[in-house]
Subunit: 562 residues, 2 copies
């Protein structure tokens, strides 16, 4: 294993950026077609100690890509096809930077892979959810993560110049797996035969056009002289039949985020970091107003979008920058009716592209929670508003604790005359925000227990007291105030005392019951294998392949198979 | 990570045993119902350094269980229900022995978990494939692996004595996951709600009867005074409607295995170990005779059964005892028509219980290959007989290389007048031996490419030359003798030079395309997470929970979440 004490210091990572400030990508929009060109600034690494040669990437490069993906959804409703290409000669992208990986801690590598995977998934679903087709125009070699980036697109075209290849050289050169879905997508999405996939993933130099097309690794090739025309033709063709609405977009203006000591505050979300208890308390506020007649006119201030942007940013920041805080406690505060009004609007106005995109964004953000390696606990108290779309937050948690009645003891922050908490399940919990496995969180909760699912469905729209929510199977425990605080205290203390690795593995297994998809395979299986391999001396030890890469020496292996 | 240089020496493991020699289990057959009682001999550990207290188990205990599972299929066609219970007071089984785990190498732990998983899967499918229902009669606490053993059964009854519980204490006490399918079966088979599964898997002391029944952790409870009657009632009820044929069984006599230096020889299988090349050459001989009129009369000499027993034993021995030999090369030799005659008999006589059990056993053995962490390469030469059931061996491999024509150069072992090799696909490749994911190996090979699948299906029963097999997508490469030997040499040398961990992860991802099942989730996802966790200092480091268990000190954790 890498000696993690000697690793370079990593900065606090910000996810805020804008096309005007991109160092690594160029985003050009030409009517229905956008072009996203990767031309990495070698000196622009997020952490010191490596140069981003040959269009290799690090987290900073990927943060810009994520920003572009989001803006193409919200700011460019006219864009029906996105061409992703490279700005260097002969090299589309060499994948994740190896020196960066070699010098990174295990946690950094895992987090980096998770975020890059999430962005690739967002690219992959753009066509189905937003009518936006992504086309990888490989103007040169796509190696490792470079080819995996292409795999997330709907089509892959490789330049036929006699030298450019697609490859996954991780196994032969680095002793690790392709870390962002490569193995899974090759066989499960591209349907490359298992034995050919095996050849491909062990041949460092990869394959050129003819074989790549025959095996299904790419969809087509084109020589340099007809390259632009071919890519243009495919992009125009992809635009046909698209459901993208055109018209004016909604600008994703800078996030309003205030940090004050251990508090992070957004308009509708507040997080308080308790380092001693290794915990974050997250409070989501319900909307202050009724839904607007014209959601798009509000832009980023539209409550569901503002909420989602805050949650997304918070999840990313906490995952990346606060790895010691292993438990996140989720509360809500506000008016149930206000939440339900927005919940209804998301359903009623599902045909409005902006409302639809907002819903999809919240869906993606909830999926981030599902794959977050933190224990998630919902605490449901008087004054809370866990209804419909906000109830999804509780259902994404590993446990839900609900106070029966009110807090009786005098307390400055608590109103003894408050109404007891209620939960309100709605259709939002039953399909509007499907998990990566395709199930709603409600269906997942009652997997294999159809009667219980039906029972819960019968309560849609009802304001369920703690006892009723418990009877409907929607909470883990309903306790009165004599036991509640003590129970929560014990639960959180106990959780904070357990092995973080074992909790991560346990939660990853419990959260995804039932069917598996490309996405759950990537996060659940591929990632788990990669975690193991990253930890092995053969990869990360002082003589491991990852550490020795570029030194002229191959990795030195212990050949024991396990 | 454990300092693996200081670990106790492990013996060469034999898998041969017999109920007369069991030290840990008692097998009693009473008409339609068999009872398998776990009463572990504390002093009977397979490796020194630990005592098997509280009915905890090690590999030796599990080898006996596997033997019993096999004999209950073959020697006892009259047994329709199997009651698994414990021979100690108050404790059914405490799971895998912790001191054994703590002193074991990573490879030993992983191999041990794999074998125990395979045995549990064989128990789990007994009802569906053989009409034999397994009933866990928990006469005391079932903790960790003890409860996981119960989870593999069709029913679980827990004694209601005020103290006995079911539990999965691995996460809270040991900082690892339950290693034999517990998390997966709790949510995916028993359909325990995610939040309750979370409570369960973090509560070391577990849950007693009432909660266990309510949550679905067990099917029922019974007090001591009516215990025997209740178990008997359930066992008798389980017998009803069983398809078990009754009558006389087939004795599984001791295997004929000859070891001579680096050669292991069985009647139809020979393995040659090449330690320098880190390779095993496995040659499977086709049948010498035509299929018998009465397969059962031949007993263990029936070719498909003799072959399967040899393969099963070889796979287990190589996996456990020869971990440095990372590549297995599979060849066959013999008469294609002879193989096809047996292939036809397995199909024609599928209703004969003995033929059926033999087929199922071969299926389970092929599944062992699928989850074996070795690179598998089929070499198809003149004189080979890769037809139908033996073609499955090639299809289970990561690659298939076929010689086009014959070897032209003079060579003492090679006949220049030989007929070129042929492959013969049959229905056996298309559903008789499904993989753990439910797909046939042929379907898996052409996943998502229905036209290619149809093309291959059209050739069933045909003797395909190398060029034809290549055109039908059944081999990775067809090469003439000018290139063949050189190519094989390079392939095997290259393979032997790669990181064994990366290959293991890669192969595990490529081999299971498409749908996922309980079984693939356990081997693919749960196991991968466990591999990672086993490697982390929080579990296996000198201050990790696994190493400190029993010392009175809890594990000391680095609380960073990754």
């Amino acid at each position: 294993m890498a000696d993690e004490t000697a690793l370079p210091a990593v900065p606090v990572v910000d996810f805020d950026t804008h096309p005007d400030r991109y160092r690594h990508w160029r985003l050009e929009v030409d009517g229905e077609v956008a072009t996203l060109t990767l031309a990495v600034d070698e000196k622009g690494g997020l952490v010191g100690g490596y140069e981003l040669k040959a269009n290799s990437y690090d987290l900073g490069v990927d943060i810009e890509l994520y920003d572009a993906v989001q803006r193409l959804r919200f700011e460019h409703p006219e864009v029906k096809a996105v061409v992703m290409t490279g700005g260097l000669e002969k090299m589309f992208c060499a994948g994740a930077n190896i020196r960066m990986l070699a010098q990174s801690s295990h946690a950094w590598k895992v987090n980096f892979c998770k975020f890059t995977n999430e962005t690739r998934n967002a690219i992959e679903e753009a066509r189905a959810t937003s009518g936006q087709t992504w086309l990888a125009a490989l103007n040169g070699t796509a190696a490792g993560g470079g080819y995996e980036l292409a795999l997330a697109c709907d089509q892959i075209v490789l330049i036929d110049d006699g030298t450019s290849t697609v490859s996954l050289p991780e196994v032969p050169l680095l002793g690790v797996l392709p870390g962002t879905g490569g193995l899974t997508r090759v066989v499960d999405k591209r349907h490359v035969r298992k034995d050919r996939a095996d050849l491909f993933a062990t041949k460092a130099e990869g394959y050129r056009g003819a074989t790549a097309v025959e095996w299904g690794l790419v969809d087509g090739t084109a020589p340099r002289k007809s390259w632009d025309a071919e890519i243009d033709r495919r992009a125009r063709e992809a635009c046909q039949g698209s459901t993208r609405p055109g018209g004016e977009g909604v600008e994703l203006t800078p996030l309003d985020r205030q940090e004050d000591g251990d508090t992070i505050r957004y308009p509708h979300v507040t997080a308080t970091l308790d380092r001693d208890a290794r915990r974050v308390d997250i409070t989501v506020a319900g909307p202050a107003d009724q839904p607007p007649a014209d959601p798009r006119a509000q832009g980023v201030d539209y409550y569901p979008l503002a909420l989602t942007r805050a949650l997304d940013d918070l999840v990313l920041r906490l995952r990346t920058n606060e790895q010691q805080l292993g438990t996140w406690v989720v509360r809500t505060t506000g008016d149930v009716d206000g939440v339900l009004a927005y919940d209804a609007q998301l359903a009623d106005r599902a045909d409005d592209w902006f409302v639809h995109e907002t819903t999809q964004y919240l869906r993606r953000t909830l999926k981030r929670l599902d794959v977050t390696s933190r224990s998630l606990v919902a605490v449901i108290e008087p004054g809370s508003c866990f209804a419909g779309l906000l109830l999804e937050l509780a259902l994404a948690c590993d446990r839900q604790y609900m106070l029966e009645g009110v807090y009786e003891d005098p307390h400055p922050d608590r109103d003894p005359d408050a109404d007891p908490a209620v939960l309100v399940p709605t259709g939002a919990n039953d399909g509007r925000f499907p998990m990566g496995n395709g199930l709603s969180r409600l269906h997942s909760r009652f997997w294999g227990r159809d009667e219980d699912l039906d029972t819960a469905r019968k309560r849609f729209g009802e304001r369920l007291t703690a006892a009723e929510a418990d009877a409907a199977g929607l909470v883990t425990m309903a306790l009165d105030d004599i036991d509640f605080e003590e129970e929560i205290r014990i639960v959180l203390e106990e959780r904070a005392s357990l092995s973080p690795d074992a909790l991560t593995g346990m939660e990853a297994n419990h959260r995804f019951v039932g069917p598996e998809t490309l996405e759950t395979k990537i996060f659940g299986r591929l990632t788990a294998w990669q975690n193991w391999i990253f930890n092995r001396p053969n990869a990360s030890g002082p003589d491991g392949a990852l550490r020795r890469y570029g030194s002229g020496q191959r990795g030195s292996y212990d050949y024991q198979r396990v």
